[in-house]
């Protein structure tokens, strides 16, 4: 299990190097980095505060990672998610997947961010000129997560 929930920034290059160092069975590494944008819904956003549910967050991210490992032959996997106050351009989340071949690495990376978006208990509050507002969940995110459902 490699899941981290932290206020500090993360170093993508260092995370990739740590995952691949000495692991010469890895042929493919996929990553996704989510960053804070300076605008949303047509309004400039000056800052954002990410709240989360300590305890449940780690459990859900661990569950999601375990599900990815069940579905694809991953050699390694990492999820890092920040919380607290962030400024535009700040990194928010990192998903990193490593496999022998590219298909499982890319599919698992997409799966992890899709499920994380709809299952990990984080909430964003944006600060705009009109005041603070809670970000609303997107229907597209539910649809993206549903693609991976197995009923």
């Amino acid at each position: 299990m490699a899941v981290r929930v932290q206020t500090e920034d993360f170093d993508v290059g260092a995370a990739i190097d740590a995952m691949t160092r000495g692991a010469t069975g890895i042929g493919s590494l996929a990553s996704f980095v989510g960053l804070m944008r300076d605008h949303a819904g047509g309004a400039a956003v000056s800052a954002m505060t990410l709240e989360h549910y300590p305890g449940m967050t780690e459990k859900m991210l661990g569950d999601i990672e375990a599900e990815a490992r069940r579905r694809w032959p991953l050699i390694d996997c990492l999820i890092v998610h920040r919380y607290g106050r962030l400024a535009p351009g700040d990194r928010i989340v990192l998903v990193l997947t490593a496999a022998a071949h590219r298909e499982p690495a890319l599919a698992a990376c997409q799966f992890l961010i899709d499920w994380l978006k709809t299952k990990a208990p984080f909430w964003k509050q944006e600060e705009t000129a009109a005041g603070a507002r809670w970000v609303e969940a997107r229907a597209e995110d539910d649809a993206a997560a549903d693609r991976w459902r197995r009923d």
């Binding site: 990410l50 994380l116 709809t118 990990a120 909430w123 970000v135 609303e136 969940a137």
Partner: protein, 83 residues
Amino acid sequence: MKLRYFAWLRAKTGIAAEQVALPDGVGDVEQLVRWLIARGPGYAEVFRERGAVRVAVNFDYVGFDHPVRDEDEVAFFPPVTGG
């Protein structure tokens, strides 16, 4: 039991968490929600639109028909927006 409220739900209840004794006649989430609504207008407002409220018992998502016990941690929050 421990009750927790997140994001805009917390703004309505005015508190992030509270410890309550399992009320008489409350055996599942639905009954707990009815009991909370009767406690005051802030709580009532939280549950005005049920579809917008997610529930977790002991760190797992559950439905409104899920049982609750005195030793549980029950959390209410809006649809998540991380990532």
